[in-house]
Amino acid sequence: MNFDFSDAQKALKQQTRGFLRAACDTTVPRRVLENGDEPYAHDLWRQIGANESPGIAIPEEYGGIGFGYLELCVVAEELGRVIAPVPFSSSVYLAAEAVLLGGSEEQKQALLPKLAAGEAIGTFALSEGPGQATEANLQTTLKNGRLSGTKVPVPDGDVADFCVVVARDGNGASLAVVDLGADGVSREQVETLDPSRSNARITFDGAEAELLGESGQGWELKNRVFDRAAVLFAMEQLGGADACLEMAIGYAKGRYAFGRPIGSFQAIKHKLADMYIKNELARANCYYGAWALSTDAPELPVAAAAARVAAIQAFHFASKENIQTHGGIGFTWESDCHLYYRRAKLLALGIGSERVWKDRLVSGLQEEAA
């Protein structure tokens, strides 16, 4: 029994944390949030690329450093803690994973090295507007290597170089890679709850696209990509939830009312204890998800869903009750509370809502029982 990260992984965590503490205090996401012209923090992204972090789990043969997924989880948690305003999740958890799982050798060779180095940004487009996307209601079509339809929101879709798109073709749902600079692609930033991470509305009008994986297998492939991404999203959410708890504790100790620190009142104490409880439940589920991801265990779908559900709940609760703990100050723009509250919702919906993952969790349990 060794349900813990290794010493090397812990060292990587400390190192990543130290780097991000210096390179990405909350002024960085705030800058992107407030500045419509800067869709992501270029300087930070460059440094992350220089650290080879995007390639941490990408095999060496494709230009990565091939450490493994536990190492990627460690980095994800730290990026989440500082709510880093960079296209890491789109490029690494979604695009790279899709190419690794579904790409031909040629596609892998063409795309992965650039992603690993942070030289290209990739993303993944499923949603076509408000409402649950299902295999049955996809409107975007792929015909004769041409993509048509509108995807919104596409995370980092305004800055990405290429995109993996879920589209319908003659055989059902398929994945396709499209160069976002190509003809027939138009895109615009779209406002979201968290402007510190940019999102786009992309319209394809017969844009040239290349199948990724087999035609008709796209939905299943998307599910596999999302299972893997779910663990990594959950690690980011866990980091964010921990940051909120830390902020709330700090404030509750230092803020006085009625002649005592507000943290000495049970209403605040028990609120923060509940935050801690949710965070620990999320942490345990996340670590298990990390193990399942890193070993490609058959338990992955259920473990990933559990990590995702627990992490959504933890970050949601921590981010909203952190505001509440801060009182009036927490409702001001100047306070950092809202940066986390925004990010919590962005990550909660990013690859499908809590509801969708709960359903997937129980379906997985039913399969295990069957």
């Binding site: 949603s127 049955a136 919104v152 929101p153 709850l193 230092g254 002649g259 509440q324 919702k345």
Partner: protein, 408 residues
Amino acid sequence: MDFNDTPEQAAFRGEVRAWLADNAEPRRDRPSVSRRLDAEEGLILARKWQNRKAEAGYACRHWPIEHGGQGRPMIETIIYDQEEASFDVPTGFFGIGLGMCGPIMAKYATGEQQARYLPPMIRGQEVWCQLFSEPAAGSDVAGLRTRCHRDGDDWVVNGQKVWTSGAHYSDYGILVARHDSSLPKHKGLTFFFIDMKSPGIDIKPIKQINGGSNFNEVFFTNVRVPDSQRLGAIGEGWQVAIATLMNERLAVGDAPPPDFREVMKLAASCLLDGRPALEDSAVREKIADWYVESMGMKHTKARTLTALSQGRIPGPENSIGKVVSASKLQNVSSFGADLMDMGGVVTDPSLMPASALFQQSYLYSPGLRIAGGTDEILRNIIAERVLGLPGEIRVDRDVPYSDIPTGS
């Protein structure tokens, strides 16, 4: 038990309805006039409308005639408000003045002052604000630091207030300040009304987490206030402030939408697993929960109105309103965004159901759980004042204010 008006009330309601039909536009399925206009234009229109109401005798109808009202029963004011709610009229600037400042002036100001200040307040000619909260005195209002000292016939005020809605367009404000730090905290306070155009007042809008600015910081640097504008005795400021806050709690309005209705509408137009979300049992259970809360508050208010219309004093049941509605708004908003799944983060109104109402209120709702008493303070109040449970152990009573720990 019935929901009908008395004949007299019915007659009045009919009169109001007719007058409104002649003087205002019915509400339609689009943003209200207050939302369509910016604050400056809104204020101009709101003043006009308030004046028209006042001239017709419908503004603060229950106030005494000498204060500009009609001296009629409270229920007529309520009936007017109920009817007005169906019309798209510009409102939202006079609530604090008429709900909090007016009653406190009526109780503590001189007859001359009342004659001078209350009628223009009713007519919307002068706007009032409330200056209580401070950066270091939120839930603990009595912990405020703004100082005042006597200088001849005047008082001189120095310090900072915060969360003052409408400070920038207000003509007058009510203010509580500390005149003596060597007294226990609740005993060293004195209450004034103040001309907001006085020299030394500096107003800075506060930007909220949703980007809006409904509140201000107000800085006082040697602001002079005549002693004649003191309300209540020196050192009686806390009692006056508490009386004001009681009026605030009665005046707290309903939470804005979205509520169960908007969730139902959204769920009817949204698919979950290929079926309308409104057929989904998890969605239905949520709708039922919110319906029960919403109707519970509505009918609780009906109990209060019944008491008022019978000339009785309402029970404490209204105290549950804000604590229930604020969390409900946050939960409904979050749930609505979730129902839209991955698309639920988009805030562009042109792309979103209900013009992104759920997303807007996701960002706005945390403020409702704080403003006008946090969830935690309201539960304390219910426990202590309604249920009679013993108070907290206090370390800040019976010691000089200046000796109370502040952590800094």
